[in-house]
Symmetry: C2
Subunit: 394 residues, 2 copies
């Protein structure tokens, strides 16, 4: 057996996204202990940087030591007790995973269903809130990675507050790519992932809890069903007190990486990062449409960082992805669930959201579609994207 | 804010241990996708290497995407259903954590208690098995990191089989340092950690399930309470079929690191790794005793990789550790629970288990103890350790 040397890829799927070399280098620095005073200082800085990224002053803001799906589970197991009713909005794969989490906590999920590719219908949510005045939590996905839809987080949080419900929001794909305003919107729990628009390595899940959520967790009448994710215990390690008590061994090197990734975000500033995502998204869409392709999601609800493109009639979508990977080293994503076989998902996330990647993806896709005889307009795509950049004075 | 550059440390505490630079370098290679065919090949190799490390042919052998405490939780949430009775042996901190896990799964824990620093009493375990013929599982810690005690895993597994109980074994600190023989001993679930004798970065928990455990998991009448740790779902991603279905985003770069760490173990061979741990442990003990210090645990039950040393009367144990850290960059561990303030824990794990570290630790400790006026024998320790090495023809 020999050491693993990964092939050279450009990651433009639903995540992980290409990791900034600065982050890989930071991660490879020597490991130190999880109770080392210098490591405690690093934890404090990570917390401050996460507060910036989430736009919050929440004291309980930290990275869960596991991937985004553990972050989702941390939100539900801490907030819910058996029998609690949760209104779950589902318009894609990750709303479905929320339902799984509610039920495995012994909660009752009231589903508000919308089509994959459409946004959550606010009227339906309000109806559900009215019909279920005993619901404790409203849960929704901000950026549906499975479809490329942006849901109206601010409006959903406002509705929940009006009906005296707490909120759990999935920001795995939104954080760093579009605005997330924890305090401004008044969301109670938001979790994210390291490997999307933060362009860090996969394996961590930043999370933040409002004061109201913290109170609810502190005043539970039953224990959190997960020891590993119990915030009552994790607070003592990540909390503000000078005495940190050991809970579990933190993933030290991954946290070096997250610190570097969050520093890069702060150096650019949130606002400029959002603008950059919007710019390159628009250039990509311009190029794709000039090629004769169409987008799955209506313009008003499109995520810039996750672009669902309709697969042209008769084209073998998996074959196209395989060719892109083999010939160009380019990874794009397949459709999931009801969109399987129907769309490709092109990510423009964090470090990977740049002009070079947009132009590379357009040319590789055009060439590959031509090679399988797909009905594409030839030679228009790159100039259209370039034209868009010129128009925006980039 | 500036990039985090860790101070130079020698990690001789209870873990993380010093990471081999080969592993840090492997980890810093570019991230690829978790469904990339090359990554799937890496997963297959990791599985094979873990089977070697655990001495097993178990098909369900994989790293949980989170630290050892999540591995512990994975063992309990998958095997237990509400109301199940578990006999838990506790002779240190981690047996107590097992009790927490049983109860949070809705199980009933029957505790068999032994003193911190002593081994699990087999007679007491057999009595508990006889008195609780309805117990489904016997759970114990192989290498108690909190005390430095090695429990007799083979005998405990034999007892459990005799009484028709399944077994869950914590091998967080044992794997790679002393023998772990999953198939030979017939243990049903064994979990470990990446950051102890494998000398990998913290954040992963290798785990293995016997065919009997897999059957039990497949035939549960209720769902596993954790979605993130549900092996029924994880099997479809890590399993042997050619079609891998997405469960969660694997911590790609941490898995590069684990692959390298396991390759290093295989290159040395398990047997030589165990011999090396035994050798340097004995040299360390020889040196410590020549200094006038004493070990907490009886020779028959000592772990080579975790050495609990009694703090001499009147010495400020935390002050000594702080001096070692500040002056020598040397990290050793404090006592936990009933041993807090009474012992230091000196780790000799994996890459950090070597002659240089033994001699460095002895000299730094002797100097520091002298500086606080502790009653140590001066100038004997290093020559005694060197003498031991010579005697062993190293």
């Amino acid at each position: 057996m020999i050491s693993f040397h990964p092939p050279v890829r450009t990651l433009m799927g639903p995540g992980p996204s290409d990791v900034n070399p600065r982050i890989l280098e930071a991660m490879s620095r020597p490991t130190i202990g999880h109770l080392d005073p210098e490591f405690i200082r690093l934890m404090d800085e990570i917390k401050e940087l996460l507060q910036y990224a989430f736009k919050t002053r929440n004291a309980l803001t930290l990275p869960v030591s596991a991937p985004g799906s553990a972050g989702m589970e941390a939100a539900f197991v801490n907030l819910l007790q058996r029998g609690d009713k949760v209104i779950v909005c589902q318009n894609g794969a990750f709303g479905g995973r929320m339902k799984e989490n509610v039920e495995r906590c012994g909660g009752v999920a009231v589903m508000v269903m919308d089509e994959w590719g459409s946004a959550i219908d606010l009227d339906k949510v309000e109806d559900a809130l009215k019909a279920n005045s005993d619901a404790r939590v409203l849960a929704f996905v901000h950026a549906e990675t499975s479809t490329g839809v942006r849901n109206d987080a601010r409006a959903l949080a406002t509705l929940a507050r009006k009906h005296d419900c707490m909120t759990i929001m999935d920001a795995v794909t939104s954080l760093g790519g579009i605005e997330v305003d924890a305090d401004g919107w008044g969301v109670d729990v938001i979790y994210s992932g390291s490997q999307k628009c933060l362009s860090c390595v996969p394996g961590l899940s930043p999370i933040t809890f409002s004061a109201r959520a913290m109170d609810a967790i502190r005043n539970r009448s039953t224990r959190v069903q997960s020891w590993f994710l119990d915030m009552n215990l994790i607070m003592d390690y990540w909390g503000g007190s000078s005495k940190r008590s050991y809970h579990h061994t933190a993933p030290i090197n991954a946290l070096y990486a997250l610190h570097e990734a969050l520093m890069i975000l702060q150096e650019e500033s949130l606002e400029r990062a959002w603008e950059r995502h919007a710019l390159h998204h628009q250039a990509l869409v311009t190029g794709l449409e000039a090629m004769g392709l169409s987008m799955r999601v209506a313009p008003t609800h499109r995520l810039p960082q996750l672009n669902a493109v309709n697969v042209p009639e008769g084209v073998d979508e998996a074959g196209v992805r395989a060719t892109l990977l083999q010939l160009y080293g380019l990874e794009i994503g397949a459709g999931l669930g009801s969109l399987a076989g129907k769309v490709w998902r092109i990510g423009l996330m964090g470090f990977g959201c740049n002009q070079k990647n947009v132009l590379f993806c357009l040319s590789a896709l055009e060439d590959t579609l031509l090679s399988v005889g797909a009905p594409v307009t030839v030679g228009r795509s790159l100039s259209a994207a370039r034209g868009y950049y010129t128009q925006q004075s980039v």
